[in-house]
Symmetry: C2
Subunit: 295 residues, 2 copies
DNA sequence: CATTTATTGGACTACAGGTATAAAATAGTT
DNA sequence: AACTATTTTATACCTGTAGTCCAATAAATG
């Protein structure tokens, strides 16, 4: 990454930690990073975008740490699971951004992008947790995996918040996680409440970075073929198959794809396939990033 | 209440609902309330304080509704409990401030007062829920009441948030509450995690308004007699017994009490009794308010 | 060396929350 | 009715914010 951009991100990070996001004026970031305003807005279109970049780094860090923790261990290893959950807290704690991650609302139209970004992150986290609950507790939990993931996640967050507000001591995060797991580690008496397909768009792409997002995107689109055709929307159908053609070819025209994907995304809005939109968007962004890195 | 103040609060409420708190400039409130800036700052020292006033009203509303729901019903009536929980959501929904209530963090030094205010509210809510869980599920849940209250509260909040973010339809709040209750309505396998005395300062005063907060305050202080003496802090001990003397007398000197209570509060800081401080503060404030109303 | 690109730094806009104050309106009292 | 005290208004003002714009400068590139 660019040197200046790195400088900015690092400075912003330390300042956000020390004083909080909205209490940190851009001016302070500029001075700390030894960079001019022009440069800042050359790399980030807004302060919010800068924060999102930081949060993205943290996300990568968490994913990496969790991957490391899993190496050589069974996927049903409970201890590993606990440590993996704790990873987010440790890193957020290190960056002191936990509160920010927990505060998903704020109901401000101004920070719309930030809201969506954080929503994406927390929904991915819940989805991941449901998957891991299946791993760890086996088939008996399969049906209730999302129910229990939500309960677990909710319990962990609220408990750690309470311990922080009341005790003001260091939070015993692993104990808290064990407590939350204990709360779900009992027989479910009722039928499942949350449906698995709500969470379809938030499944993380396995082995990200190593595999080819091109194939993933291709497969996802192909899977939608029949549904798209059924919608009988000429434009949408055209975009869809055009994108698939490009993905099949050796050298896709990236500029054309960029443009068509844009229209495709818009066309997907307000259709039955709207819920798949974001997922496609994510895959596409990954695909483009990989292309850019390779070139 | 003052007419102008009412105008302002009503206007602010509708605007906060429509556009969100920080997206609503004071100017808009002034115009909507047909009031000048000077008047606004005559009644509220800041926009934040105005919001807190609104939230206080909502709290009163919730307490009132819950009281109504309980009339003539057994305290172990589960249906009543569910409706009581839902009351907060219905009212917050009506005022569309649920998101705000849920977003307790934001980590901004600027909104310190707001943060503390919201903390108080959510901790009171959890405490109330623990009490009610005892009522409804009986002795078997007593030990785990706080554990389960946290799990229940966390599950309800996260679930409703997820349903809102993903489904974007109206949240089936009662079903969500039944789900959350189902998540705790099972045998606890582990010893309790959260200690009851964390929540001591957040117990709501029963039958508030009808009974005498003077007696409540007196009892609370008396209960602390031995602990205070044990601390061997001359000043603190003096304040403590002075306040008790005043409370016993027919006509306490309110000005003196105000001053001594202030010092007493400060003296309590950083002692073993720090956790009782807020509770005493609340009782004292109530006591003073009643006095003021009677005069 | 010449051209392109990145960077600077400051001026500038628009808006926010909050203060200050003198004049006008209102309410309360004798 | 007259006087007083309080409330309200209207407006100007201060401080600080995010973000835009742009001409001048520096750095990188072929």
């Amino acid at each position: 990454m660019n040197k200046k951009k790195k400088q900015i991100i690092e400075a912003a990070q330390t300042l956000f930690i020390k004083k909080g996001f909205s209490a940190t004026p851009i001016q302070d970031i500029l001075e700390a990073a030894n960079v001019s305003k022009g440069t800042f807005y050359n790399y980030f279109s807004s302060k919010t975008e800068c924060l999102m970049a930081i949060l993205s780094f943290i996300k990568e860090e968490v994913i990496h740490d969790r991957h490391q923790l899993a190496l050589g261990k069974s996927s049903s290893d409970k201890e590993v699971f606990v440590k993996q959950i704790a990873a987010r807290f440790h890193i957020d704690k290190k960056h002191n951004l936990m509160a920010l991650f927990a505060s998903l609302a704020s109901s401000d139209t101004a920070h719309q992008e930030l809201k969506e970004f954080l929503n994406q992150q927390y929904l991915e986290e819940v989805t991941w947790m449901a998957e891991r609950i299946c791993d760890v507790f086996g088939a008996k939990k399969q049906k209730h995996a999302y129910d229990d993931a939500v309960t677990c996640f909710g319990t962990i967050h609220l408990t750690s918040k309470i311990l922080m507000d009341i005790n003001k001591t260091e939070i015993p995060i692993e104990e808290t996680i064990y407590f939350a797991l204990g709360q779900i580690e009992r027989a479910n008496l009722h039928p499942p409440f949350l449906q698995a397909d709500y969470f379809l768009p938030y499944h993380q792409i396995k082995d990200a970075g190593e595999q080819d997002s091109k194939i993933e995107l291709q497969q996802t689109l192909t899977a939608l073929n029949s549904k798209v055709d059924k919608l009988k929307n000429d434009k949408l159908t055209y975009y869809h198959h055009f994108l698939l053609e490009q993905l099949k070819s050796e050298n896709p025209n990236l500029f054309l794809m960029e443009s068509v994907m844009n229209s495709y995304q818009n066309a997907l809005l307000h259709t039955e396939l709207e819920d798949k939109r974001k997922y496609i968007q994510i895959l596409y962004t990954q695909f483009m990033e990989e292309k850019r890195e390779n070139s």
